[in-house]
Amino acid sequence: MTRAARKGPTQWNLRLYVAGQTPKGITAFANLKKLCEEHLGGNYSIEVIDLLKKPQLASGDQILAIPTLVRRLPSPMKKIIGDLSNTERVLVGLDLVRKR
């Protein structure tokens, strides 16, 4: 699988669903930010959606558990549940793994 960089600057659109300031939500966000900076350069945008404030937004992406990371762009959509501490699993889940 090629890295995003080789394809040219693709814009990544990521959504992180959280429930208030829970520890895992914060951790997920921190991990996500770090990951994006290391692997996506500047070509990304992160939306943080607090389902405690707006629970109705859970339906859109069919969220069941929180925190959940949704990759909306590039398609296809990808979902990863949890605090994203397992970097390898996240990279795999987002198709960012280097060709071995």
């Binding site: 829970t22 520890p23 914060i26 921190a30 859970a58 558990a65």
Partner: protein, 557 residues
């Protein structure tokens, strides 16, 4: 499994949801994934159930409070902020969440955040709002639980506080300014009352003396002493008035200052000699150290002598009998340095500059044994500055004497030798016509001139005077410029026209400005004599060859 607390629900609905929750929990357990909360489809749409405590009251407090609250990742990215912070930085939420806190801080860098190790840290800083404006703020930073620990900031907007502090500072400044103005006003009032006192004294003595003279037989020895006293007091009064006039003129920049090349050595010597006898009579020794050659400066001789004289006077006043005054003068490069040192009462450090202030005087003590108006040093500074120089006072403290340093720029121009002595009085007798409307002034002038052997004719107004002059031309005509009816200038013009160049015309006037002297000259007068002028002055004006107008009509000798 920890208890689940949900958002507010009706009892029935909760009952309905219980089985669904149990199923969802089971699914998650199976997935072995770490989550904080789950979403369950309820009758009113999706409901979020947090696994850990939702802390609804605290949530409300945080959202409603005026202070800003921000949660950051350890690296400083903003994960959450409350409405207070949103309003503080005036930014839309999407421009805050996900961005680095550093974007919103003008004065803090990331290292500060890293400092937030154990425990809360409090510091003042400046935020940068979304539109770039700066917001002074107070920040409390603390670590939340977890690893790595997120950082929670509570931010207080200090704008109003700072504004209030600025307002208070401004009020304080205005108060201080007002207090200073009031102090200056009080000082001025004190000066005026002291002035009144100082002027009344010599006048009182003079009037008393005259009365006594009227009672006493003139062959007694007392009248001689009384005349001496009257003379001294009149001179003292004259000096006070001179000082006052000078002060007013110098202060308004109206002094006639015609700088010429002078020899400062000569000027200093003159001032010293003028004051030597007074100093030595006070039991104070005077030593002088001045160079042999010349030190050329640009200036007005009379003014410089006056300034140096004031410094000597000042030294004499504040030095007790047995003390010493020393005067030194030398040229150092392009500057002439003059020093007047005394072993007198000295100057307190904080007063070093204030002694040159107007209306300020050491001690308004009831024992005003020294008299004077306290303007001498002010005059010195103004006159010295008029000459492009500086004067400074220094002292080792009260009781340790004082030193006054005058610095003047040295010029390269050659120095004229000014004749110092006045032309001697003529002994010849002249026929003098006196045109003066003030009876007392006229009588005194006539008496004085007759005592000097002159023949005097009088006229009380211009018309009469002109008629008399035409009928019997005198050698000289003295005209008071301020005549009623036909004014002095017109009288001068007509007299000059009628009498030609043989008769000396002298204008007696209280106006000494350059403009006035020009008018007098244009009206045909030979001499402009500034009031008050005594009989000797008048005679000199009549007889002297030099027709240069006298600039200083001083009362004192």
């Amino acid at each position: 499994m920890s208890a689940i607390e949900g958002q507010s629900q009706g009892r029935d609905e909760v009952e309905e949801l219980r089985p669904r929750l149990r199923a969802a929990q089971q699914a998650l357990d199976n997935a072995r994934v770490d989550v904080d909360a789950i979403v369950v489809e309820g009758p009113a749409g999706p409901q979020v159930y947090t696994v850990t405590n939702a802390d609804q009251p605290y949530r409300t407090i945080v959202e409603e409070m005026q202070q800003g609250a921000v949660v950051l990742t350890p690296r400083g990215d903003i994960f959450y902020c409350n409405r207070g912070f949103e309003e503080m930085v005036r930014a839309p939420l999407e421009e805050i969440i996900g961005h680095s806190m550093a974007e919103f801080v003008a004065a803090m860098d990331g290292s500060r955040l890293e400092e937030v190790g154990a425990g809360a840290r409090r510091f003042e800083t400046v935020l940068r709002a979304y539109d770039g404006t700066e917001v002074p703020a107070y920040v409390t930073a603390s670590l939340l639980g977890g690893t790595p620990a997120p950082i929670c900031l509570v931010v207080t907007d200090l704008t109003e506080q700072k504004r209030q502090a600025a307002r208070e500072a401004m009020f304080a400044r205005e108060e201080a300014a007002r207090a200073e103005a009031e102090a200056a006003n009080r000082a001025k009032d004190q000066f005026l009352s002291m002035l009144s006192h100082e002027l009344r004294n010599p006048v009182g003595v003079i009037l008393n003396g005259i009365e006594v003279l009227e009672q006493t037989d003139s062959s007694e020895p007392e009248p001689v002493k009384i005349r001496e006293i009257i003379r001294r007091q009149a001179h003292h009064l004259g000096r006070l008035l001179d000082d006052l006039l000078d002060l007013a003129r110098v202060g308004q920049g109206k002094v006639d200052f015609e700088p010429r090349p002078l020899d400062l050595v000569d000027v200093v010597s003159t001032a010293v000699e003028d004051h030597r006898s007074k100093i030595e009579r006070a039991g104070i020794s005077l030593t002088v150290s001045i160079p042999q050659g010349k030190i050329p400066v640009e200036g007005d001789r009379t003014r410089l002598v006056q300034a140096i004289g004031n410094l000597l006077d000042n030294a004499r006043k504040w030095t007790a009998t047995g003390g010493r005054i020393s005067v030194s003068l030398q040229q150092v490069g392009e500057t002439a340095e003059m020093r007047v040192r005394d072993t007198g009462i000295g100057i307190e450090p904080q007063m070093r500059e204030r002694i040159f202030d107007l209306f300020w005087q050491v001690q308004s003590s009831p024992d005003r044994s020294f008299g004077g108006l306290g303007i001498g040093l002010t005059l010195v500074r103004r006159l010295v500055e008029l000459h492009g120089g500086t004067v400074e006072a220094s002292s080792d403290g009260p009781g340790c004497g004082s030193e006054f340093n005058v610095r003047l720029p040295v010029t390269k121009a050659p120095v004229y030798e000014e004749p110092r002595t006045q032309a001697p009085l003529s002994v010849a007798s002249f026929r003098i016509l006196l045109i003066e409307d003030n009876a007392d002034a006229r009588d005194m002038a006539r008496l004085g001139l007759e005592l000097l052997g002159q023949t005097v004719f009088e006229a009380v107004d211009g018309e009469t005077g002109i008629q008399m002059a035409l009928a019997d031309p005198p050698d000289a005509v003295i005209v008071d410029i301020g005549l009623p009816g036909l004014d002095g200038y017109e009288v001068g013009r007509r007299l000059r026209e009628a009498l030609g160049g043989r008769t000396r015309l002298v204008a007696l006037t209280g106006y000494g400005q350059r403009e006035d002297r020009r008018r007098v000259r244009d009206a045909g007068y030979d001499v402009h004599l500034l009031k008050p002028a005594g009989p000797a002055d008048i005679l000199r004006a009549v007889t002297t060859e030099e027709t240069k107008t006298r600039e200083d009509g001083g009362l004192a000798d």
